[in-house]
Structures are given as structure tokens and as C-alpha cells.
Amino acid sequence: MSMDISPLLKMLVFPGGLTLIALGLLYEYIDRKLVARFQNRVGPRVLQPLADTIKLLAKEEVIPAGVIPLFFVSLPIIAMAGALTAGLYIPLAGFAPSFSLPGDLIITVFLLGLLTICIGLAGANTADRFSLLGATRTLTQLFSYEAPFLLALLCPAILADSWQISIVDTSVTGHVWLALPLFIGFFVAVIGLMGKLELAPFDAPEAESEIVAGALTEYSGRGLALFRLGKDVELVIGITLVSAFYLGGLSNPLEFLLKTLGLLVVVAALQALFARLRIDQVVGLWWRIGALLALLQLLIVVILKGVIL
């Protein structure tokens, strides 16, 4: 019995699975700590996200009346699986992606979208009015940022002549950071990332002062823990993608840490700076300004590429 277990290790331990979850928890801690420091607070302890997760996993899971139990139980698992699968296609920790195929950029972005769709469906599945409102907002926001974010990620891909993440990553390595010439695209990508992660200015879907806890109001214990973990993993993947494309590629672990943490500082600062936008303001912002900026950047890239190359 000689079996190659390296794909299994890649999926479950490194760079997928456990490493991704550990990085997610670490990045959530850094994000919370940075926001706390910006607000002149001390902030949480290092193991705080881990303790939150273990506590939630050990808690009772209440399945409320009026839900379809199969969906209620399976949606968090699908969301988590989607997020973890997306992690297999990105250059995590500066190593080559575990799996790579032409067009995996689209796969990754839509696997990340799966998490948001699952949260929306989970909210729509429960009979609670706050969950329904949260679900509506989550899905509305999904339709507003998804297109500009994808367009912003496509600009470096078009320059690299490939929609394969590993090829884009290697092609931008060693050149000037794309964030400088393509600053419009970088701007849209960073703001789009914050919309995707439902961070501060775009956290209308889980506005605790208006709609309790949004789509996840009825979730307790395991379901909530899995959704939170999925969000953390999404944070790592999103930041890795944007820094690989726009900050000159990720070719070794040190570069990975410096670039992703640098981006995380920017994201945390933006979170601390801005107040929450209303959901109609979010949609307006994305379709009136975000999408136009992304299209403009795309146009510039296509024209420049035609003229120069």
C-alpha cells in the first residue's frame, strides 16, 4: 500500500485547512487589536479569537422553530468548505498554490462569494424578521461589490495574460508594484475587499444597533463558530489575493507577512476612520463610483497594453 498522501496533507494541514484557520484567527486578532489601538483602547488578548471559537463550538446549538433543519445545519458547513477550498488556489505564505488551473481566479472569487450567499440563505431560512432584513442586506451588498471587486482583480490578470493566480503572481514579481501605476484598481480592490468582508463602513448587514445581528441572529454555538471562522479565512484569502496582485507578488513567507500585514493595517485604519454607511448608500457608492472606476481602470489597462505591447 503505497499512497501519495501529499495532496491530503496539502488540503488538511498546509497550506490549506489548519494553517488557513490558524492564520485566520491570527489575522482576526491583529485586525481587532489594531482597531482597538486606533480607538485608544488596549484591545483583545492574543488567544481571544481562538477562545471565542472554542467557546462557541462547546455551546448548545439551538435550532429555532420555523427553519428547515437540514439547511440550518448544513449552510455553515458549506460556507466553511467554500472558504477553505478557495484557500487552495492562492499563494498562501508565499508558496506556490497547492492546486492551480487556468481560470482559478474566477473560481476563488466565487468560492468566497459562496460564503456570503450561504450567510444570506441562512438568514432567509429563519423566520426571524431581523435575520430576514440582514439576509436582504447581505445579498444586496453582494450584488453591489462583487462586480467591481472582480473587475479590479482582472486588471493585473489582463496584464499577465492569464486568469491563473499563480501565473499572475509570478509575472508581477520583480516589477514595480502594480498598486502604483494601477492605483485606481488597487483602491477599488481594497475597498471591495472591505465590502466583501463586511467590515466597518460596509457593515450594514450586521448592524447590531439596528437589526440585532443581521442574518446570523438565530445562529448559536457551532453554526456561528463556523460562519465566524469562514469570515476569518476569507479575510486571509482576500488580503493575500490583493497583495499578490497589486503589491508586487508574494514569493517568500517574509514577503507574505510584510505585505499582508501592511495591507491589514490599511484596512484596520479605514475601519476605524469611517462610520457605517446605509445600505442604499453602499449600493449607490458601488454602482455609481466603484463600478465606473473599475471599468475606467480596465479601459486604461487594455488601451495601454494595446499601445505599448
Binding site: R45, Q48, K55, K59
Partner: protein
């Protein structure tokens, strides 16, 4: 505390229990319920949550939904109107859950004791784990109460070990 599957080696069970206890002490998420208070205690609770006292360093986070919360922070005497709502919020919280009664009214009914529309303290309706007296208690007192509640969890762990 007995939801660890049977059949595991005893050392593992002990370790898992320890891990669970540690996470509960490390991350108490709170929800705030006002069952008829004059708002004095509520203002103090909000003051506790401001950056000046920064309870996030203890892992305390205010949650909107009772489904996410571990600790129910109650203020005020329970009025007849609020009794059913308080009970419902308590029932909506998943186990394990703890209740803290903040202020003189929440502990005994306070000056409203014996009023025609007041049931009495929080403990007349739901079981209470910690009482924080004061009218209103200072934020330091509230933090102290929460820390003592968590400390009692720690003691329970020690008692389980020795017992």
C-alpha cells in the same frame, strides 16, 4: 458539562473540560436587558463598554442577539410587563448561560419593592449567578462582578479536579 462523548480516556475528557472552561472564562459575551430600570444602571453599563474601561481586553463583547450571548446583564426591578419578556430572553440563550443582576433594584426590587406593578428582583423570575449592588454601581464594580463570576467558574474547575 457532560456533553463530552463517553468512552474517551479520562485524561482526554479532563483536558477537553479544561479547554472548554478556559474558553468560557476567556470569552464571555454579554447581552444587556432592562426590565424596568430608571436607566441609571444602564448608563453605567454603557460607560463600562466605552474605550475608557475597554472590556474587550477581558474578551467581554456586547452582543445584540440573545442567541450569541453567554452572560445576561439585567438592570432594574422586574415589572409585571417585563416578566414574560425577561423569561423569554433567558430561554432564548443557549446553554451554558449566566445571569448578572446589576444595581439595587435588580438585586431586591430596591425602592420599588412592594409596588403594585413590580414582581421584585431578577431572582424572582430567573436564576441569578451574581449580584452587583449599588445605585447605580460604578463601572469598576460591574467589571469586578463579572470577574468574580468568571473566578467562580475557575473555582468550580478546581473543585471538579479535587472532587
Amino acid at each position: 458539562m457532560s456533553d463530552v462523548p463517553a468512552g474517551l480516556p479520562k485524561a482526554w475528557t479532563k483536558m477537553l473540560e479544561g479547554l472548554k472552561n478556559w474558553s468560557r472564562i476567556y470569552s464571555p459575551w454579554a447581552i444587556h436587558f432592562n426590565s424596568g430600570s430608571c436607566n441609571g444602571c444602564d448608563i453605567e453599563i454603557l460607560a463600562t463598554l466605552t474605550p475608557r474601561y475597554d472590556v474587550e481586553r477581558f474578551g467581554i463583547k456586547l452582543q445584540g442577539s440573545p442567541r450569541h450571548a453567554d452572560v445576561l446583564i439585567c438592570t432594574g426591578p422586574v415589572t409585571l410587563q417585563a416578566r414574560d419578556r425577561l423569561k423569554r430572553v433567558y430561554d432564548q440563550m443557549p446553554d451554558p448561560k449566566f445571569v448578572i443582576a446589576v444595581g439595587s433594584c435588580a438585586t431586591s426590587g430596591g425602592v420599588f419593592q412592594g409596588c403594585y406593578n413590580v414582581v421584585g428582583g431578577i431572582d424572582q423570575v430567573i436564576p441569578v449567578n451574581a449580584f452587583i449592588p449599588g445605585c447605580p454601581p460604578r463601572p469598576e464594580a460591574i467589571i469586578d462582578g463579572v470577574v468574580k463570576l468568571l473566578g467562580s467558574l475557575q473555582q468550580k474547575k478546581v473543585a471538579e479536579k479535587t472532587g
